[in-house]
């Protein structure tokens, strides 16, 4: 009898713990509602697993005229492990809500949802995508910053002037999924290993196989796959099973 009681109480405690985790973020008292929710900034960032993203996520709730609504409730949600601070808030005087977010423990893409309710209580959702880099992709991103970015990134900063405009054949930025997704891992590996000329591409892309290790190049490819836009879908066996 006593045992059953102990078992029961453990179960109820566990259930209590679970239900508290699953609870909706504290309910807000919205003073207004909008008809649309749009992203102002902070989407499509490249972060690291578990780390807070550099830029906060800012979304705006608009009325029928497209201007910001003050006092509308916005709720953020994402898959397990994503932390929003705050997870729910009322829009400010310009109709915006700003939240800092940390991505979860797994690398890859995170589709996050920001939602608000319209006058009839119906949910309006906005999907925002962020990217988390794991160990291999982080290594790739470091190597990219050291070796590739000067030619493959059109953006210049004071510390790093882009060389892209100086090249007759423009290199593909690594985010250019339309082109790079069509190339297999083996293609990318061959180009990085042997240079552009070996694959009938621009000879200005030098061969890296004598400078970078095999695992370095695998890391670079995993980084290129991680940041591709539109997202890269692995082909073959794995894809067929989804």
């Amino acid at each position: 009898m006593k045992r059953t009681f102990v078992a029961l109480s453990i179960v109820s405690l566990l259930a209590g713990g679970c239900s508290r985790k699953g609870k909706q973020p504290e309910t807000l008292k919205p003073t207004a509602t909008g008809v649309a929710i749009v992203e102002s900034s902070g989407g499509k960032q490249i972060g690291y697993i578990g780390m807070q993203l550099d830029q906060p996520l800012v979304v705006q709730v608009n009325d029928a005229n497209g201007s910001g609504v003050t006092g509308a409730a916005v709720y953020f949600s994402g898959r397990q492990g994503v932390v929003f601070t705050p997870a729910a808030a009322l829009t400010d005087s310009s109709g915006q809500v700003t939240t800092n977010l940390s991505l979860g423990q797994a690398s890859g893409r995170y589709n996050l949802t920001a939602s608000t309710r319209d006058a009839s209580g119906k949910n309006i959702d906005l999907t925002i995508e962020e990217i988390a880099l794991g160990y291999q992709q982080t290594l790739g991103s470091q190597l990219n910053g050291q070796y590739c970015i000067r030619c493959h990134d059109p953006e210049s900063t004071p510390q790093r002037v882009s060389n892209m405009d100086n090249l007759a054949v423009k290199p593909h930025p690594f985010t250019e999924g339309d082109t790079l997704n069509k190339m297999s891992d083996a293609d990318l590996e061959a180009i990085i290993n042997h240079g552009g000329a070996a694959l009938n591409k621009s000879p200005l892309m030098p061969p890296w196989s004598y400078t970078l290790s095999k695992s370095d190049i695998a890391a670079l490819i995993s980084y290129i796959r991680a940041v591709a836009d539109p997202p890269y879908q692995a082909g073959g066996l794995v894809y067929a099973q989804k």
């Binding site: 690291y48 697993i49 578990g50 780390m51 807070q52 550099d54 397990q80 800092n100 940390s102 979860g104 423990q105 797994a106 690398s107 794991g134 160990y135 291999q136 982080t138 290594l139 470091q142 190597l143 050291q146 070796y147 000067r150 030619c151 004071p158 510390q159 790093r160 002037v161 882009s162 060389n163 100086n166 090249l167 240079g195 552009g196 000329a197 621009s202 000879p203 200005l204 892309m205 030098p206 061969p207 890296w208 196989s209 004598y210 400078t211 695992s215 695998a218 890391a219 995993s222 692995a234 066996l237 794995v238 067929a240 099973q241 989804k242």
Partner: protein, 680 residues
């Protein structure tokens, strides 16, 4: 009631047959408990789930063949690893399970280590021998090391890898911040290889502070250093007005005049701010010092302090003395002594004095200090450990002012005091201490450093790497930190190089700064005439570089001394710099080399050989190279750049001997530097 019990007793144990039957059933039940527990155990459920998952997949046969039932264990006695994690995490080694949504069964991300050789808890922590989810992942009463959150996972790497790794940016950043902000001036942090993390720069001495600045400035500065310069590394002590008043009083009272006294350099006439701006630019002060520009952006280097409000901070006489000869005030500064004449000093100081931090000291009005206030200031200076970082007359540097952090990554939770509402985990505690120390109580001494959330996580990562395991595992697991050599150049040239602080930016033989190229083999690389010209008037070798070598206004004798030393001492032993004489390189080879340069190797992608046609922005411009380099250096560089300068981004293109010779002939034929103007 008693009757009923007797009845039940009789029912089961009334006669010997009944008693035997009941006892047998009870025995059977008892015997079934052990296998039953096993069957209903958590890990058994996970194994069944895993089998259900893999059976739905195309490669089910392979995956099922790999599956082994029962408790799986990695046992590495030397590394104190007994990990049963793979009992539930069954897909860790299965390449095709990279995409499954259940984290428990997903393939482990690619890492450079084999899971069976290193185990799981070596990096991830947690209780390896446990067979329930709760005990394995979380802290329990008997086990205080829960699983490390993913964002601090690089702390796992840092236990063995004491040097920086490319793949661990946050660990590297955290260690850098610990050195940069001088955490180890108060907290000792020893490393498993016997070294300690050391601060990378010395905060200024306050022994002669009254010569440099005013008490009002000191008062405003210690109240809020970042209000003066957003990039300041001094932390905020959240001092009250009275405390700041008394500390500033004490520090000024303790200051003694410089011996020999300051020698301000005066020049006649009005300060010309425009000329000063030009001189500031020409001298490349911005390579080390940041300044807020017209757009409000802080731009420039971080080696020296930000100069946005220097006119408010430094007294004109001190600035003149400093610009003329920084070693007079601070013999250990990283700032080089420029050979400025009196007029240049006055021009530059005029410009610096025009850089005023508006409002910084505008509202500070301090009455002369009373002896009580000064005494109170002295007590505060002792209590806050100011002398841990700054030299202050009459105050000795405290030893072990703050707790040692050598094994902070394994500190038991029972020794930590948490604040209400905080997650009771070690990483959360460390991050809170780093990011916001005063929430643990207003009377705590640790000041508030200005760090971004990402920097706080980086420092936490570096601290969490300081575990018991890092110290107790076999020394063969350790990749020790690179030791800085004690090399110092000797003789006259050594004196001169010290005077010019060459090694604030350049590195030789593994010692020095990392802002400018490594000079270890410079003597093999360059020709004497070129080096003389370069030292007279350093030009930009890389078109897109913003941090540049300043012009020091050296005398001919000084240049000769430096050149002789560099050419004699900074040599590689791999080859002789004169091994390829000019006569070996024919015009025909140069033509062939030109073709190889532009077609096969595509060098113009990164380099400029001819300003009229080439645009490459990444490597140094090669026009005029024939006058700069020795042919043997160029040849060996082409063969294997990383051998001559580890880490250079020039790719090794596996050039054959003939090709290397031809390209060398072409490059050595580029005698005329040419300019961008000519190109236009």
């Amino acid at each position: 009631m008693k009757n009923r019990l007797t009845e039940i007793w009789r029912l089961f144990f009334g006669d010997s047959a009944r008693a035997f039957g009941s006892a047998s059933v009870m025995l059977l039940v008892l015997l079934a408990i052990a296998p039953g527990k096993d069957h209903f155990s958590q890990w058994h459920r996970y194994q069944k789930q895993y089998l259900r998952l893999v059976r739905g997949r195309a490669d089910a046969v392979t995956l099922e063949r790999h599956f082994q039932p029962g408790i799986q264990q990695i046992w590495l006695p030397e590394q104190q690893v007994t990990d049963r994690c793979m009992t539930c995490h069954l897909g860790l080694k299965e390449a095709t399970l990279a995409d499954v949504s259940a984290v428990a069964f997903r393939k482990h991300p690619v890492i450079p280590h084999s899971l069976t050789e290193f185990g799981c808890t070596t990096c991830h922590r947690g209780q390896g021998a446990a067979t329930t989810v709760q005990e394995a992942h979380n802290a329990t009463e008997q086990w205080e090391q829960p699983l490390l959150p993913a964002k601090y996972i690089e702390a796992g790497c840092g236990q063995c890898h004491l040097e920086n790794l490319t793949g661990t940016p946050f660990l590297n950043q955290g260690r850098e911040i610990i050195s940069r902000y001088g955490c180890t001036r108060c907290h000792t942090i020893r490393r498993p290889d016997g070294t300690s993390i050391l601060p990378d720069r010395d905060p200024p001495s306050l022994a002669h502070i009254a010569d440099k600045t005013s008490r009002e400035w000191v008062y405003a500065w210690i109240k809020d250093p970042q209000a003066y310069a957003s990039t300041a590394s001094m932390p905020n002590y959240h001092l009250s007005d009275d405390d700041a008043r008394d500390i500033s009083a004490f520090i000024m009272v303790q200051s003694t005049p410089m011996q020999p006294p300051l020698q301000p350099v005066k020049a006649e006439g009005q300060a010309d701010v425009a000329a000063g701006t030009t001189l500031y630019g020409q001298s490349f002060c911005a390579s080390c010092h940041a300044m807020q520009n017209a757009a409000g952006m802080v731009a420039g280097g971080t080696l020296g302090p930000e100069l946005t409000g220097i006119g408010t901070k430094a007294k004109p006489g001190w600035l003149q003395d400093w610009v003329a000869n920084p070693y007079h005030y601070d013999p250990n500064t990283t700032m080089p002594r420029y050979r400025f004449d009196a007029k240049q000093v006055a021009t530059l100081v005029g410009f610096l004095e025009s850089k005023i931090a508006t409002d910084f000291v505008a509202n500070v009005h301090l009455d002369p200090a009373t002896p009580q206030q000064i005494e109170h200031g002295r007590r505060l200076v002792l209590e806050n450990g100011c002398a841990s970082c700054h030299e202050i007359n009459g105050v000795t540097k405290p030893e072990n002012f703050a707790p040692e952090l050598t094994r902070i990554g394994s500190k038991p939770l029972s020794q930590l005091i948490f604040v209400e509402g905080m997650n009771r985990t070690l990483p959360d505690y460390v991050a809170a201490k780093v990011g916001n120390p005063r929430i643990f109580g207003p009377s705590l001494k640790m000041p508030q450093f200005k760090l971004t959330p990402q920097q706080i996580d980086a420092v936490t990562t570096a601290l969490l790497a300081q575990t018991d395991r890092a110290f107790t595992q076999p020394p063969t697991m350790r990749i020790t930190s690179v030791q800085q050599s004690k090399y110092e150049p000797a003789g006259h040239a050594g004196q001169l190089m010290k005077d010019l602080r060459c090694f604030s930016c350049h590195m030789t033989n593994g010692q020095g700064g990392n802002m400018a190229p490594d000079l270890s083999y410079e003597g093999t690389a360059v020709q004497r005439e070129w080096l003389v010209e370069f030292l007279k008037n350093p030009e930009t070798l890389r078109p897109a570089l913003i941090r540049r070598m300043p012009k020091f206004n050296l005398s001919d004798t000084e240049i000769n001394t430096l050149t002789d030393y560099i050419l004699t001492v900074y040599q590689t032993s791999a080859f002789d710099r004169d091994s390829i004489p000019a006569s070996d390189l024919t015009p025909a080879m140069a033509d062939e080399g030109r073709d190889l340069f532009y077609s096969k190797f595509g060098c113009q992608g990164c380099h400029i050989a001819d300003y009229r046609s080439d645009k490459g922005y990444i490597g140094p411009a090669l026009a005029g190279m024939g006058k700069r380099f020795n042919a043997a250096w160029v040849y060996h560089w082409l063969k294997d750049p990383q051998a001559l300068r580890p880490g250079t981004i020039e790719p090794n293109q596996h050039v054959t001997d003939e090709e290397a010779r031809a390209v060398t002939a072409f490059l050595m034929s580029l005698k005329s530097a040419g300019t961008k103007q000519e190109a236009k």
